[in-house]
Every structure is written in structure tokens, then in C-alpha cells.
Assembly symmetry: C2
Homo-oligomer: 305 residues x 2
């Protein structure tokens, strides 16, 4: 950028330029799949992408971010993003673009002044399991990109070791899904496109317990938490096959229908979040958060002892 | 309805009729406020509204639903809704309307074949406090109608006694908010338009503890839950001023900024949902659910002893 604050000579101002159209095409799934790339938008997400990019390069890995476009106004407000992108490790040349160009690049109604083209971040399941994970969240047939992103964010907050999107779930690289993760997509390993049966088999072989979140489940999550707490206090509790402290895989189903009968059959146990009032159920993201936090709490307590 | 399944003679087919326009105007807040009415849409929400209407009339209260409009197709699929509306207690004449008419009545992209005009359901705070509530959720400066509805639904699931929307929060009668409650708006008392200061004063006078959900809070929700569990097992725990079992009011703040400094000052304690991973925070609805369920669990356990 020029010191005067004026747009540099190579600023992009033509919203119909080929490069702009190329970026805009990442709104479509087939193009994302073909290129293995997706868009991160807004100062927070781009910041997280750049930090993940720097960490990957520092660790000898491959690049995560390939292009960054920002408005002058955004760069003035977030100078640290320019510094980060152009630092000696990241080595990215941040292109200044007009608001019109940025608008043409995304499907957002209110573009946030900066976006990055990123390489897919998903990893193979083997790699996740090699790290001896204690908590994995699996989304089966989840349809809404916002829900998918919100559960990924909640899994990150709960300290999960990975999030898996099965082949039948929405694309986590969908722009709305990426936005809903608020950067968490760059914080923890993500696995995509696996079949539930394969996934469960591999996780069980790795010694993990598989729990299905199911409103009609025969086990009550609060009872399991009470039993876990009781074990923590060396109280006598009936022996349980479903100890929340164990390394756990949680399966979460479709927003309207929950998990299918086949998916339920794969689980070791079906666990219901208790409903104390008159609501029929919680929505997907809130139910998943309660489940993931219940496991996280039990494992944390267990880890302290 | 005619037995032949053909539309009855008084079926509404003109989307430009005055009655249709009158219903459509309920999408706007000033009209809702002037009339004291709002729209419930879809089989589930209308079903809950009709049941609440019947319960209110049975208890000698005033009517909740004033008009119901449905497509023939929807009535064929959900005949119990017609029966319920026209039963001797409800005494509502369900009007059959064409899909075009129903579309013109709502702002939904995909209308669900049935809608009800309902009278406001909110009640004064005094009335809630007279019932000796144990758990109240308060939404301060919440902006997104979907979030407001989702928190109301979660509060219902957690068995809360009421949900309060302060004067600075989004209108819970907004069509999108109503849809997100998935019927919970008709399950538990709702209070609207109060100032936080007044609310807190009255709740404290009624013996309730006021907790602020605050990412920077000095108390950790999981520690509080552990202490609560320990008391349940008669373990020695340091004396705490913040026992989750107590009758509790939770304050939740704006999606982006959280609670304001003034709102935080009103609380007895500031409590953080711990973040075990790298996420900066949970989103509003997921954080609120974890808080409300933590209190519900502690109170349930306490109630069993």
C-alpha cells in the first residue's frame, strides 16, 4: 500500500475483470470441489486464516491462503491484517480492491471489506485418529449451512479434537457455513465426505465410544453427567457402559428428522438431552452444544484427578 | 369444510381482498403494537396456539386466537387442527384460503399452508414473580429475531418459568422470531418491554439471584456446576455466594457485544461459559442454552434430594 493512503497502482477497480469472476465462482460447490478452494470473508475469518497459514508454513506444511483482497478502508481499520499477510513467513501480496469489486466477489449482502481465497483444510480421518482424540463431533445429513458452522464453532469451544461432516451433510465450505464458524474452521481438524458406517468402524477400532444424540434415546444426558460427577467424588454408582469421561464420538442428525434408523444403529448408546419444560426438543445447534459440553466437562474433571 | 373435499363457498381466493391485506400488515411492528396481535404460521405453531387458546378459555381466561386461515391441502394433511379449532371450547371458524391468499398474508418464502392471528401473550412481570419462579431468562439488546426465538425455545426446554425481553431487545412477535420458537412462545410466560434496572430490582426483591452471562466473567460455569454437584454429594465445598440451585435470573446480552457495562453492574455475579478450545466464544443461543441447562440440572438435582 502507498504511504499516502491512496490506492496503489495495482488496485482492482473493475468488477467485471476475469480475476473477480474467478473468485466469485467459488460461491458454487462444483467449482470449489474442482479447485479445492473456498472463500473466507471478513476481518475475523481472514485473520484466523492468515494465522493458520503462518502456523502451517512455520511447521513446514503447505500454504493455506493463496490470495487476499481488501478495501483500503478495511486495511486502515485492521492494519495488523496487512502486516500479517505480508510478513516474511506468510509472503502474501494483499491486493487492494474497490468495494464494488469485493461485492462482486461474494454472495454476502453486506461484504466486510476483506476476503481470502483458501485451500481446503480438511484432513483424512486416519490423521485425526492417529492423534488419539478424546472428543469428535459428527454431523450427519445436516442441511443448513448456518447450523453446520454453529456446531463447528461450539465443538471448537468445547475443545473437541475434530469435527466430521458425513457425505450426506451440507458442504462446510459453503460461504454461509464458513461465516457461521467465525474462524473456528481454522482452529481444529475437519473431516469431510466419509460414510457413517466406515467412520464408526474406524473410531470404535481406535477405542472410542459412539453416542447418538437422540430425543428418544434410552439414556438421559443429565443422569450420565450425575454419574460422572459421582465417580469423581468416589461415590458408589452402578457400573455403566456409558461413561462420559471415555474418548467419545457424538453423532448429530438432520435438523428436522434427527438421525436415521441406520445411523442410530451404528451408535453404542442413544442419549437424550432431557426436556424439563414443554418444548418438544432443542434445535440442532443448542442440543449439540449441551452434549459436547457435557462430555468436555466430564473429561476435564477426570483429567484433573 | 364440505365433505366432498371441494373448497367451501366462503373460501378466500382473492389475494387483494381487504381482509388479506389486514392480516399481511401484521408483518409490521407498529401495526402489531396498535392491534396487540401477531401471526403464528405453520401446522406446529398454529397447533400450539390453538391448544393454548383452548386451555385459556377452559381456565376462564380470554381468547388467544382470533382467526385461522388454511389451505385445503393443509387441512387434509392435518385434520386434527380443524377439529381443534372448531371444537366447542375453541369455537373458531377456520377459513379456507387459496395458496395465493396465504402467500399474500405472510412474509415467508415458503408458506406452510396455515396461519393464525393471535392476541399478544405477554404478561406483566408481577404476575411471573407471584408464581415464585426458579428460573428466568432475560434477553437484553438481542437484535436477531431468530436468536430471540431460539433462546425462548431453549428456555422452554430447560423448564424456565419465564422469558423476559427488555425494552432494547428485538420484538418477539416478529414473524421470524415466532417461527424460531417452534411453538414455545405459547408454552411459558413471556414478559416484554421492561427496563433491566427495574427488572433486576423486582427479581432481587423476590429473592432471586441475578447472573450475567459474560465471556469475561470472574466465575466459571463449570466450577459452579462442580460445586453444586459436590453439595449434592455432601462433599465439603468452600461456601459460595453463587449456588446454582438458588432461584436464578440469567441475563444474556447482544450477539456481538454481549451485556453492556450498565447491565453487568446489575448482576450479582458475572459467569463465563468456559472455552476449552480456540474459539473466542459461543454464539448467543448456544451459550444461553448451556447456562440455562446448568441451572436446570442443579435445581433438578437439588429438588430430588
Amino acid at each position: 500500500m502507498t504511504e499516502s493512503g491512496r490506492p496503489p497502482a495495482d488496485a482492482m477497480t473493475n468488477p467485471r475483470a476475469d480475476r473477480v469472476r474467478d473468485v466469485a465462482k467459488l460461491a458454487g460447490r462444483p467449482v470449489r470441489l474442482r479447485r479445492g478452494q473456498f472463500l473466507a470473508e471478513g476481518p475475523q475469518a481472514v485473520g484466523e486464516a492468515l494465522r493458520a497459514h503462518r502456523d502451517a508454513l512455520t511447521a513446514g506444511g503447505s500454504e493455506l491462503v493463496t490470495e487476499v483482497y481488501a478495501s483500503l478502508e478495511c486495511l486502515k481499520k485492521h492494519p495488523q491484517l496487512l502486516e500479517l499477510a505480508e510478513d516474511p513467513v506468510c509472503r502474501l501480496h494483499m491486493r487492494v480492491a474497490s468495494e464494488l469489486v469485493l461485492e462482486a466477489m461474494t454472495d454476502t449482502v453486506t461484504p466486510q471489506g476483506i476476503l481470502a481465497v483458501c485451500n481446503f483444510v480438511d484432513v483424512p480421518l486416519d490423521q485425526v485418529l492417529a492423534g488419539k482424540p478424546k472428543l469428535i463431533a459428527v454431523l450427519c445429513q445436516v442441511r443448513d449451512p448456518g447450523n453446520a458452522g454453529t456446531v463447528l464453532r461450539a465443538a471448537d469451544a468445547a475443545g473437541a479434537d475434530a469435527v466430521v461432516f458425513t457425505a450426506s451433510s451440507v458442504d462446510i465450505y459453503n460461504p454461509k457455513a464458513v461465516r457461521s464458524t467465525v474462524g473456528s474452521l481454522f482452529h481444529l481438524p475437519v473431516v469431510t465426505g466419509v460414510e457413517v458406517g466406515d467412520l464408526v468402524r474406524q473410531c470404535k477400532a481406535a477405542g472410542m465410544m459412539v453416542l447418538a444424540a437422540d430425543g428418544y434415546g434410552h439414556l438421559n444426558l443429565d443422569d450420565l453427567q450425575d454419574e460422572s460427577a459421582a465417580r469423581g467424588f468416589d461415590q458408589e454408582v452402578p457400573e455403566s457402559q456409558c461413561e462420559l469421561e471415555k474418548p467419545t464420538v457424538w453423532l448429530f442428525g438432520n435438523e428436522a428428522r434427527g438421525l436415521s434408523e441406520e445411523e442410530l444403529m451404528e451408535a453404542d448408546h442413544r442419549v437424550a438431552v432431557p426436556v424439563y419444560g414443554s418444548a418438544e426438543s432443542l434445535n440442532l445447534a443448542t442440543a449439540a452444544t449441551v452434549c459436547l459440553y457435557a462430555t468436555a466437562r466430564s473429561q476435564q474433571r477426570d483429567g484433573r484427578q
